[in-house]
Symmetry: C2
Subunit: 138 residues, 2 copies
DNA sequence: CAGTATCCGTGTGGATACTG
DNA sequence: CAGTATCCACACGGATACTG
């Protein structure tokens, strides 16, 4: 695997020299934002919140995900301690994934963001339409 | 400007056919996640929460941001109705940016995520160390 | 000062083929 | 079944130069 295994903080904010802006917002926050902001992690977390699932089950449920990205995503979540991976020693292999208690609390926290979005989606859509119209007619 | 101006939902979930997984989590949520998950938006929002700022002021404060990305980021936030842009008709030009009421509520909502991260960062760091060690010694 | 325009390197993620 | 390995396309964002 060539990516995502040992991503170091890339911002200079984490070094002693040179943090001009509110650093505490970044660094640690950045890392979980990179997780929930990526294409699939949040979706996997949301699905596993309903109970444990097998690899193929996830793959079938998440429309459009590649085998590779499902693996990568699950590994990252496992590494962060958000998801637990259980291998059953049978043939053919059976692997179950479930949220850890930590993962459950993260999902709960993200819910407020989901709620915010649902509440304000119309407002945002209107704002975008207004903006685009203003730009187009100038 | 070649990017970010009219990004359409790319997921098939938003079409009538083919949504297998919990679609409501995506689509609308995806769009604000793309915003707060990107490299600079959250940082700009956090800074503007302390009061309005000028373009150059933001540029100086946010270490490492390019002129281009500051402009792009601000335009996106403006388009979403999260940031208000005020041009003062003077020479040299003076442009102020401030959070809209909507932007303020988003920032407030994100705070819970920041808090969660601060609370669990040690736990995550330990989990990663454990995982990496396990992978290395096999 | 506050942008825009252009060019270009890199990382993220998709497609495909192969395996214990 | 549950992965790995490899290759590749394209979007994101950085550097630089120019402008009302």
């Amino acid at each position: 695997m060539e990516e995502g295994t040992s991503k170091e903080p890339s911002h200079s904010c984490c070094t002693e020299e040179a943090f001009q802006w509110d650093t505490r917002e970044d660094c640690d926050v950045r890392q979980i934002l990179d997780r929930i902001g990526d294409k699939w992690s949040l979706l996997v977390i949301a699905l596993l919140d309903d109970g444990s699932m097998r690899f193929t089950e996830l793959k079938k449920t998440i429309d459009g995900i590649s085998q590779r990205m499902l693996t990568v995503t699950l590994r990252q979540l496992e590494r962060d301690g958000l998801v637990k991976r259980t291998v059953h020693p049978v043939v053919p292999p059976r692997v179950d994934y479930e949220l850890t208690p930590l993962g459950v609390t993260l999902h709960a926290t993200i819910q407020s963001l989901v709620t915010w979005t649902e509440t304000h989606q119309t407002e945002i859509a209107r704002s975008r339409a207004r903006y685009d119209a203003a730009v187009a007619s100038e």
